[in-house]
Symmetry: C3
């Protein structure tokens, strides 16, 4: 990295609202911001999550931001703040300002159809292709090699990253972010079986992404068969997720990597699907449902439920089942022991019976009924 | 959406072969076709799947297509037909004709090697790159930004969607569809381990896709090591599927999203792998095998079998196992109860023995043998 | 395929160091190399893995390379060698030489920023886009449509395949291979929840790929939040893998298809994650850990452990648990039998007690205590 600015401890402390420890020279210069394990002695770092306590103790950073309540004494200069990660973000930004938004305007190699309406503050980068009837809002970037199909509409402040594909008719609200190699509006996986072969059902609907939706890299969202596949405001979708035709996802959901949602499933608001989850078609998943990693949802899930495991069992029950599962060898050993004890007791009883007049006959009779 | 055509009820009824209900004015105009939940009062919609009965009752559509056997009375005008979805498809098409096939010919920004043979009816769109020795058949579209590597052959009527990558030597039959960002012919994941490191095995084979194969968005199909990775006629592959080197998939299979098939596995015809299935390397999966979502196949699967679960157990057995699994807490409680009952019975027997001359000694002896 | 060279049996045998069987004419010509099932009578093939014995017996190949120890007599001419696959690779290469590296230089349609430094032996192909501050090493290929973002650094001998995306600041060592449609350096999935909505945390770190790393098609590697996401030397990553922000993967690991590794997880060296594995965030996975296909890792895994199943249980225990699981129906039947036997025995004891003076009262008393 090229040489950047130097900040003094005084500047840093006043920026984040921390007090310099007594005896520390406020003119000391700091040349960069880095994570605990990557920081060098002229760098500032931060500590917030107890999982990084070992990294904190081993860091070479010259200065660290720590929570107000942190007590341990450390060799770096310690600055106490309410929220170390946020404070660090502010300082990091000073050392390495966010990349400037690409320049406004249409790159000479971009192909924009005559009927497309591009806002003058939008940025259409090299080799992007924008088809007929498309509208691109203010301050929206269509990045290198991106493709925006016929009649798609992009609101203000969107960012379509390099190589993203928006097939025809995609509707995106404001501040929608589509990461690289995501595919929006591919044909749904629907076929009619006749005469021994699968025949494509036309998928003539579209995908609608409301304000503040984010779609991860290499994620695929299929268009509806007739109507829309609809991702509502504020929902964030991670990388490599599959969303099938006519799915509806409510507001402010988190759909984590490698999850798949089958056709016509409907999710409420504030749903979290942890990684590698599968949701079957046509189910309803209520508001605030949380499904653990690798979980499956195969029937309607009531609002607020926490589900775990392939069969989408309530998390509390699922944990109990797993505990029973892991004790199976002990359970089976216990059964064997009971069997032996029962056998021993039967032997004892039979001996007893032999000494009790008339009883042996009855024992035999009982045996023969089994 | 722009203003489109208006169809009269008379035109619609005669197109789909339905009778207008008595008393309905055949001149009433319909302005669009939409799903039950999206339709407005001037629209036609359709109902077929009982899961949508609630949506039917709540729809604002002015007209609905329903199955002949449907009896319930509804506020929209009802048209009874044998197959509502197919009838709707026909009407939908009138309101929103399928997008015209892109114009024939080679876009000026497409790069086509001198030695490539492009049929005059083919369409090579903007920024597509076609390398040496490629053949493109009649009415085939190579869409925006697509890449077709050296010596690949595309039959008639194929559609290679925007940003699809066909590496060198790919063979595609007629009517093959490759969706956006799919990668055909990447190098297989094969390495030789020596001197503490993995060294790439050259993968010099190719991928062959027979007639009517469809490959989903962001799906990857690796080339064979020496020979081919082979997808036979009519097989449909969904999004985000991984197919490793030298896999052979028979005809008319359905491979659903996020499934992975390891190297040299062989599938028969009419196999269905539901979503997120994993198939290990070198196994044979017989004709008409069905594997449920999230299932695993780790050994040969005989024709016609239905498999479930990570261990690929026959579905009937798997369902029984899951039922037992979910009853584990009850089973364990039952074992505890038996243990207590056995203890109670032993206490009773010991009391009995105490009253029977000589028997206590023998009970003790029995104990000591345990 | 076009007509290629003809090799004589004499040439082949001497190339691979095999002896021609007695009575075979060394001047016989061989016209190609193919797998057992694809070979024709004028071709050479090879056999090494016993799983292909049936294919060997059925092959139409005229010549086969087999292991030295192979005894069975076959109709093709048999050449015995120490390592048939390696020998076959050598012969295959003579029939079908590896594709020539693309020509050096920058294609006229490639867009290379003025401040980028491209080694004169590098190859920048059609429509590739290389941004400001990028460095491309000797003999490195940036293939068709690839995107290399601002300030990225590529070492010598790398191959960035068609349509790969390297976002800004990516560091790649020597001989790094990135397959098509992979995305390196997308923003990590990190948000701060406030006022009922998720707000993006800036991800301002980068991805570092050390020497000899290979990244599969459609694989996504997110940039670190502040520091790096780091893949160390010699690690090979398959297709459709997700690697989240700030993950560290050691040297010479194999990460197989559709695996997902969550944020800040750390893997040691020589780790193998078989297909569709999930690793949760912030865990440490020790050297040489092996996780079976579909396995989950939810806590730290000590070096050398073999883990299986969703809960990442040591493989030996996991196999025992699966065996118990599959015997659950028998276990439950056994419990029912014990229950019946206990009932029978109790009946017998009660009869016995009835014949023993005073004992029935005590039995009743025992009952009432339960």
């Amino acid at each position: 990295m090229a040489a950047g600015p130097i900040l003094t401890l005084h500047e840093i402390a006043s920026t984040v609202g921390a007090q310099l420890p007594q005896g520390v020279d406020p003119a000391i210069g700091v040349s960069g911001a880095a994570t605990l394990d990557q920081a060098m002695s002229s760098h500032i770092s931060f500590y917030e999550d107890p999982r990084y306590l070992r990294a904190l103790r081993a860091t070479k950073a010259g200065v660290v931001l720590v929570p107000s309540s942190f007590e341990e004494s450390l060799s770096p200069v310690v600055l106490r703040v309410a929220n170390p990660a946020v404070a660090f973000e502010t300082i990091f930004e000073k050392f390495m300002p966010a990349p400037a938004h690409p320049a406004r305007g249409i790159h000479p190699t971009a192909l924009v159809h005559d009927t497309a309406e591009i806002h003058p503050t939008a940025c259409i980068r090299a080799y992007a292709v924008i088809e007929a009837g498309v509208r691109v809002g203010a301050n929206t970037t269509v990045d290198v090699h991106a493709f925006v199909g016929r009649d798609s509409q992009l609101g203000d402040g969107c960012w379509i990253h390099p190589h993203a594909v928006l097939r025809e008719g995609t509707l995106a609200g404001a501040r929608v972010v589509i990461h690289s190699n995501a595919v929006i509006g591919s044909d749904g996986f629907g076929f009619r079986f006749s005469a021994g072969a699968h025949h494509r059902l036309p998928h003539r609907g579209y995908v609608q992404l409301d304000d503040d939706v984010e779609v991860g890299a290499c994620t695929t969202i299929d268009r509806g068969r007739f109507g829309r596949t609809w991702i509502q405001a504020g929902t964030k979708i991670d990388n490599l997720v599959q969303i099938a035709h006519n799915v509806v996802i409510g507001c402010h959901c988190l759909i984590i990597s490698q999850t798949g949602i089958s056709g016509s499933a409907r999710l409420g608001n504030y749903v979290t699907l942890a990684g590698q989850v599968g949701v079957v078609g046509h189910v309803e998943v209520g508001d605030r449902v949380v499904v653990s990693a690798k979980g499956g949802v195969s029937k309607d899930a009531p609002a607020g439920h926490q589900l775990m495991g392939t069969y989408g069992i309530p998390a509390k029950d699922a944990r109990e089942l797993v505990a029973h599962y892991r004790r199976l060898p002990k359970t089976v050993a216990k059964i064997k022991m009971l069997e032996q004890e029962l056998q021993d007791l039967r032997t004892l009883v039979e001996k007893l019976a032999a000494k009790t007049p008339d009883s042996l006959d009855q024992g035999t009779e009982s045996d023969s009924q089994r």
